[in-house]
């Protein structure tokens, strides 16, 4: 029988998955409202910028971005763990997703910046 003890408890991941779920539940309802009901199609740079010139909305989008990237990648990690991969594979995938998450987060923040300044970048 393999070693059943783990150095890190999955309880923290479970808890963070629930916390980000609550943030995303509220945030995505607002996100869908502001982008699909409050404005008319097509979505344009100008329409998005109008909202993102307010710092509060930038903070809202940043929190949504971070929560979505964390929740999505950890969710995918949990799906893979459901198939009982070996400890080594689990570690490699975990670190791989961590790096992918950091890259997504950085690129996402960069993508938001042009909207936050008048005239764009």
């Amino acid at each position: 029988m393999g070693n059943l003890t783990r150095h890190t408890s999955p309880a923290f991941n479970w808890f963070m998955q629930r916390i980000t779920a609550i943030i995303l539940a509220i945030g995505l309802l607002v996100h869908f409202y502001v982008l699909h009901f409050a404005i008319e199609r097509p979505i344009t740079f100008e329409k998005v910028q109008e909202r993102l010139l307010t710092p509060g909305w930038v903070l809202f989008d940043l929190i949504l971005l971070a929560s979505a990237v964390y929740h999505g990648l950890f969710g995918l990690f949990n799906v893979i763990c459901d198939y009982n991969p070996g400890e080594t594979f689990r570690k490699i995938i975990g670190w791989f997703f961590f790096i992918v998450g950091v890259v997504l987060l950085i690129y996402g923040i960069m993508a938001l910046l042009p909207f936050t300044q008048r005239g764009g970048v």
Partner: protein, 132 residues
């Protein structure tokens, strides 16, 4: 004794019930949504090429097919969101005894919001119905 578990997909129909249906929808929508995060950040990233580049990217999704795909995105988000709330409520508020009943509320809330958003997301349907 054969300890081999049935494959996850086989388990879906070997042990089928409302809870399993909720789980299957949650998993499929979850996988679709994590794929969408990549597409979404990639698309929004066109802002780095300037406002016109961003508008061109957004306009490319503004087609009847794009609207239908966006509507399926909404369906995935709605299910994952409200079923996720059911799971969170069950975990945090000790709702294990009532969680099964909550599945039907998830269906009802998602159904109402999905039907209510239909014409908003796929305006072509209005023309279709108006044409009859």
């Amino acid at each position: 004794m054969d300890m081999k578990k049935p494959g996850m997909i086989r388990e879906w129909y070997l042990n089928f019930n409302w809870g399993m249906l909720a789980f299957v929808f949650h998993r499929i929508s979850g996988l679709a949504l994590v794929f969408y995060i990549f597409l979404h950040i990639y698309s929004i990233g066109h802002s780095l090429g300037g406002g016109n580049e961003f508008d061109r990217m957004m306009q490319s999704y503004n087609t009847p097919l794009g609207h239908v795909i966006e509507y399926f995105l909404l369906l995935a988000v709605l299910w994952h969101l409200f079923n996720g709330l059911r799971i969170t409520i069950t975990d945090f508020l000790r709702f294990s005894h009532q969680q099964r009943r909550l599945i039907f509320w998830v269906f009802i809330i998602c159904g109402i919001l999905a039907i209510g958003s239909l014409f908003r997301f796929i305006p072509a349907l209005k023309v279709l119905i108006g044409g009859i």
